[in-house]
Symmetry: C2
Subunit: 278 residues, 2 copies
Amino acid sequence: MGGSLALALRGRCAKIIAVDRDAHTRENARAIVDETSDDLARIASADVIILALPVRAIIAMLPRVGALAKPGAIVIDLGSTKRAIVQAMEQLPAPVQAIGGHPMCGKENSGFDAADANLFCDARFVLTPLARTSPQTLAFAQSLVESLGARAIILDAARHDKIVAAISHLPFALASALMTIASEIAREDDLVFELAASGFRDTSRLAASDVTMMLDILLTNRDNVANAIRASARNLETLADMIERGNETELRVTLNQIAEQRRAVFNPKSEIINPKLQ
Amino acid sequence: MGGSLALALRGRCAKIIAVDRDAHTRENARAIVDETSDDLARIASADVIILALPVRAIIAMLPRVGALAKPGAIVIDLGSTKRAIVQAMEQLPAPVQAIGGHPMCGKENSGFDAADANLFCDARFVLTPLARTSPQTLAFAQSLVESLGARAIILDAARHDKIVAAISHLPFALASALMTIASEIAREDDLVFELAASGFRDTSRLAASDVTMMLDILLTNRDNVANAIRASARNLETLADMIERGNETELRVTLNQIAEQRRAVFNPKSEIINPKLQ
């Protein structure tokens, strides 16, 4: 994500410095950025500090960032949950400006070698201001987002976290449950995965997400994620009951309603989100 | 599916006749097949009769097919569950040969206007012979499947139905549960679907499947589908418990195992099924 952001911002900043502990990451970053460093102290010269890390790594790093950042510097993060990060940002020294960020575009492959300047094009990019975020900082963050080709959506962190539990964390949980059950059946029958087609592939895709990133997400959004998962488990039990009863009318009404909801959100031909929602 | 099959078989058969009640379907078929008809009696001249219909429509039609088919004709179906169809095929007159078929390649859009000659390329095509299926009929069905570029997999109907419950019908149920829960949250917050990205799109895709086709599938595979759905609901409750407990070690072990299973089945870069399984 940081690599894609650097690529998208190249030529629009006086200087881009990539700070990373990992020598291999810095090596890959060299083709994209103006300078690489393993020393966090290099952020002391930055006007804008963008934290592209898993959620809890961002939270753990914020005190050091606050101690190093120059007065007036703007700190933005790209973490996937926002309540815990925004809370930690509130503790930054008063002269440092901060705002939460979450680009709503996924990628299974991470690292600078997978960097893609177009990753943010037409994506939604949520910004979660703090009470102390100045109007100038918010305006700057919005223009940064728009310069990536993305669309800024300003939300409070609690609302963001509830929404992403439904559209991002629950899909991961369902993909993981699918992979678990299919693997159990595959232990008894070695043809299971050989017969899997595009439907299984797409529905299970998120189960291969980066585990460290997902752990940070799930553990900083526990209430919303657990609620959404339990609601889906209850819904699945109801569906199993309907199928066992074999009442065709109730099943048809239910499935038609769901299919219509899906078709209302995504154009069935292009699988692009319905323009009415854009 | 019938349209794609006709397109793939064009030039390899003496004559292809498309029989359909619907005038619009016949109109679209005209560019692909040699003859169209709304009269099922036209199958009386056919050496091979392929039934491309939802499962229960196939079962309902089999007695009439049996009465019309000439001695030695081969009846093949493309239905998505196989036990109920194979059982109905057992009732066909003795001189008619029959074998169940299920091409493992999905398509949301149906009809001759969505026909795709490459739909079957590299796909698995399950064949479920009856006790009475002759070796010659089985060999013919295999060569027909291979002429499509697909790979024939011979299975008994019960084994097929258990496998597809896990890799095809459970993904539909999970996609439907996701759409239901997200829609419930969207009723309280109109930004929910606007923020949905590729992860939600892919995980929910099957929820837009054709309802009539899915009803036939679910209602002719009730035991296997209900078992798979209930197992996934239990699995989701366990995952919600783990997230609520916040025990990072157990969560990391569990999610790592699932992610590794997913990566073992599909190549993470290409999302193509792992060559070891092919």
